[in-house]
Symmetry: C2
Subunit: 248 residues, 2 copies
């Protein structure tokens, strides 16, 4: 029996499942990222519903260079469209070759989502608590160390100040963590994790001994055949009704 | 003041808005269709929640050759994934050139959604009430008469038997209706309409004098700038919280 109540997928298995979805499964990355980002946004909404006292909830979106960043861009769009959140982007390493990311950014520009460009501005915003929430969309399950600049500085900063800053919500894995083994030297210490498709092994380390931490599952697009193959049938049964997310 | 409580978009304006979303708006058809189809599925779920008595709710998905059909394919996938519905496809005119539709169909085949291939089977299923719901994803706002075979026969059949068959839910417009002017000679007489982005003018005819008819709005992806340009700001304000649909 596993040490946790949920099945996890190793970095290798998660990569294989993703590849399968987009080859024989015939899903496009646009489709999957839209559903994943929407699930993240709904988990944020469910866990941190917009305050009745403030007109909008400020949320800093930290966007990495790959698919985890793309999920963050989609989540930011839905949060902004719902009218109750006020996202601010930090997206320092934009891909110039990936049209999808360029498009997702354009969609945010059209929504007048502001962007900050220096790490100093990020630090100021976070330390002054001028954001109520921080969405960590830096790295996902394909992350391999070392952390490159400017993300090394950013993750160290969040790690050193974690007791003083607003809650961090990580998409799929806490950025900088080893996907299979958990925290390394620096630990951004998120309050909440939204696992996509299935939790990765480091989600065990996120939960065990931390009953205060919050864990959601999103990415409800796995059919029975794939669920069986990857032994996550019990996991996808946890979703209720027409919900795109479930609290684990 | 308009004769209805909601603003409508003419066929021409709707086509222009869609074009704008996919050009300067930088949305892909995959993204928009995913969100539209998901909204349709959630509206079906909300209005016709799965019976507590039956294990699954059988729903016939009538799929047309264009984007309205694509929305239906996406809706069928989500309904099937949620486990409470049992969709059956009728998709007689498959595009061989459009990779997106081919992919959406593959996703349904992988979910073991059955397909019936003749109009005789459709008629039998409907007349025997072996389906509890009928999703009309035949034609959308770009439809122009005449109705071609086999859809002419199908729509006549649904029209002639409307008092005897299960409820019909139409996506965007009741198929066969004139987008701007409403019912023509044959009228499939849907119980429910899910307008996408904004109701089309024929939605007026759907509602006026028919208080028993149900009308939802879905497709929550319009930013303020576009909403203002097309004068649908009041309409998109109707959405609540993080909901992708709203009952009008």
């Amino acid at each position: 029996m596993s040490s946790t109540a949920f099945k996890t997928l190793s970095a290798k298995a998660a990569a294989q499942l993703d590849k399968e979805l987009m080859s024989s499964g015939a899903f496009s990355i646009d489709q999957l990222m839209e559903l994943a980002g929407l699930a993240v946004a709904q988990a944020v909404y469910k866990q941190y519903p917009p305050s009745k006292l403030l007109s909008t909830e400020k949320i800093l979106i930290l966007v990495g260079p790959g698919n985890n960043g793309g999920d963050g861009l989609v989540a930011a769009r839905h949060l902004k469209l719902w009218g109750a959140y006020d996202p601010v982007l930090y997206y320092p390493k934009k891909s110039t070759k990936n049209q999808l990311y360029t498009n997702l950014l354009t969609q945010l520009v059209d929504l007048e989502v502001p962007e900050i460009s220096t790490i100093e501005e990020v630090k100021q915003l976070v330390i002054d608590k001028n954001v109520n929430l921080i969405l960590d969309a830096l790295f996902g399950f394909s992350f391999k160390p070392p952390i490159r600049e400017p993300f090394d500085d950013l993750i160290s900063f969040l790690s050193e100040n974690h007791s003083k800053i607003s809650p961090i919500i990580s998409i799929d894995i806490p950025s900088g963590w080893d996907v299979d083994n958990g925290p390394v030297d620096v630990d951004i210490n998120p309050t909440m994790l939204v696992s996509l498709t299935a939790p990765k092994p480091c989600a065990d380390k996120f939960i065990i001994g931390h009953p205060e931490r919050i864990h959601y599952l999103g990415g409800r697009f796995i059919n029975q055949k794939i669920a069986k193959k990857y032994d996550i049938e019990d996991l996808i049964k946890k979703y209720k009704d027409d919900q795109l997310i479930v609290k684990l």
